[in-house]
């Protein structure tokens, strides 16, 4: 699970893909998750950190994370 190296993520959650010119806006949770993916963490490791922070069970959190990663892939932000 590797995000493309040239993807830019700003402090305010603005994501820019310089290869396609696409840009996206993330909410705080999305930004937090994307930063963890950029640091090389996998879904299980991110879920560990999020369970401690949010009032939700692991299954729910992992399902949301998988959906999110799927969205990132669909929008050409992840390495194949």
């Amino acid at each position: 699970m590797i995000i493309k190296g040239n993807i830019a993520l700003s402090e305010n959650g603005f994501v820019f893909n310089p290869s396609t010119g696409d840009s996206f806006t993330l909410n705080n949770t999305g930004k937090e998750v994307l930063m963890m993916i950029k640091k090389g963490k996998n879904i299980s490791q991110i879920a560990d950190l999020m369970i401690a922070k949010y009032d939700a069970d692991r299954i729910t959190i992992e399902r949301y994370l998988e959906d999110f990663v799927n969205d990132l892939s669909m929008n050409n932000l992840m390495e194949d």
Partner: protein, 349 residues
């Protein structure tokens, strides 16, 4: 204080309208050069081309005859202008006038006026109607297409194609047609406006991306900046765009410039499909109207073109900023009737 080289440059394409000519952004780029003291002469076809009245960019404007009047009429007018202005360089910016300027290249050179244009062969082979052969010759994906000369021709062609199809004018304009009736209407409109043939092209779905390139005529790519259109007008023109980091587009520009030994500015109009294939839709044989984005991204292509025209050494650009955007806008200038009347009566302003 440095001694700047004094150069008088004539520029066409001052129609900074909703389907803008490249003249004004070309002038803006050249004006930003730190090497020249420029006198800019506008060459205009219509009295209301906005650039005529932009006195901070254009020092003087002369009316010139329409391309349809032929190269001799154009040459005669340029000689008149040259006697007053001592032109060093002409930068033509319209597809429709390039044929005449290419034909006049030697005669202009004899007068001491330099141009930097593709050869007639290079110019002709990249015509929209020749695109399939061009794609095959240079190994580039192009949409299937053909030229049509009559409505019955169009009818026959469409029998073997799937809708929608693109109906394109010889020089400008392109419309998507979803039925024979629509295609006939666009054919009639386009043939009346730009003459025959009209081009019928397979519609390729994807993202519109363009690349501006400058070739030195020896196969070297001097400058290139890829851009994705972000906001497209109903005329298909980019009203906003962003530079992108796309190696495959740069490679394509390099391949085309190198194989064709293209001399001068060009624009490749491309579509990137969802399976990441690039299709070449058109090659515009001159600098595009969005050139100022390239200047803003670090490649002053108009300045480089001027230097090449003057025989100066220009090192190829090696980088540009990606993620730079342009947002076009319209602006109302207030013009005194006296200026307009002077232009219409004397042909110069």
């Amino acid at each position: 204080m440095t001694n700047l080289r004094k150069v008088t440059v004539a520029v066409t394409g001052l129609n900074n309208i909703d389907s803008p000519g490249p003249g004004i952004p070309v002038i803006r780029g050249m004006r930003e050069s730190k090497d020249f003291d420029l006198r800019i002469i506008g060459l205009a076809y219509e009295h209301l081309e906005p650039g005529i009245y932009m006195s901070d960019l254009v020092d003087k404007t002369y009316m010139i005859p329409y391309p349809a009047e032929g190269k001799d009429a154009l040459f005669k007018r340029i000689v008149e202008i040259h006697q007053k202005e001592k032109l060093d360089v002409i930068i033509p910016n319209f597809d429709a006038e390039l044929f005449s300027f290419i034909k006049l290249e030697k005669k202009l050179e004899e007068l001491g006026i330099k141009t930097y244009l593709p050869s007639l062969e290079q110019f002709e082979e990249r015509h929209k109607s020749n695109l399939p052969a061009y794609g095959e010759k240079y190994g580039v994906n192009v949409p299937a297409g053909t030229e049509v000369f009559s409505i019955s021709d169009l009818d026959n062609t469409l029998k073997s194609m799937n809708y929608p199809v693109m109906i394109k004018g010889k020089y400008y304009d392109a419309y998507k047609a979803f039925s024979l009736e629509q295609a006939v209407s666009y054919f009639t409109n386009m043939s009346g406006k730009w003459g025959l043939p009209v081009i019928v092209q397979e519609f390729i779905k994807g993202t519109e991306v363009n690349i501006i390139a400058l070739g030195d005529g020896k196969g070297n790519l001097i400058a290139a900046v890829p851009m994705r259109k972000q906001y497209i007008t109903d005329k298909g023109k980019a009203w906003g765009g962003i530079t992108i980091d796309d190696k495959s587009m740069l490679d394509l520009a390099k391949k085309i410039i190198s194989k064709t030994k293209w001399k001068g500015g060009m624009e490749l109009e491309l579509i990137r499909t969802s399976d990441n294939k690039l299709y070449l839709l058109e090659i515009n044989p001159r600098i595009p109207a969005w050139v100022y984005l390239a200047v803003g991204a670090g490649q002053n292509i108009p300045e480089a073109l001027l230097k090449l025209t003057l025989g100066m050494d220009v090192k190829p650009f090696t980088k540009y900023d990606f993620g730079k955007m342009f947002v076009r806008y319209s602006y109302d200038m207030i013009v005194d009737l006296e200026l307009f009347s002077r232009l219409t009566t004397t042909g110069e302003l």
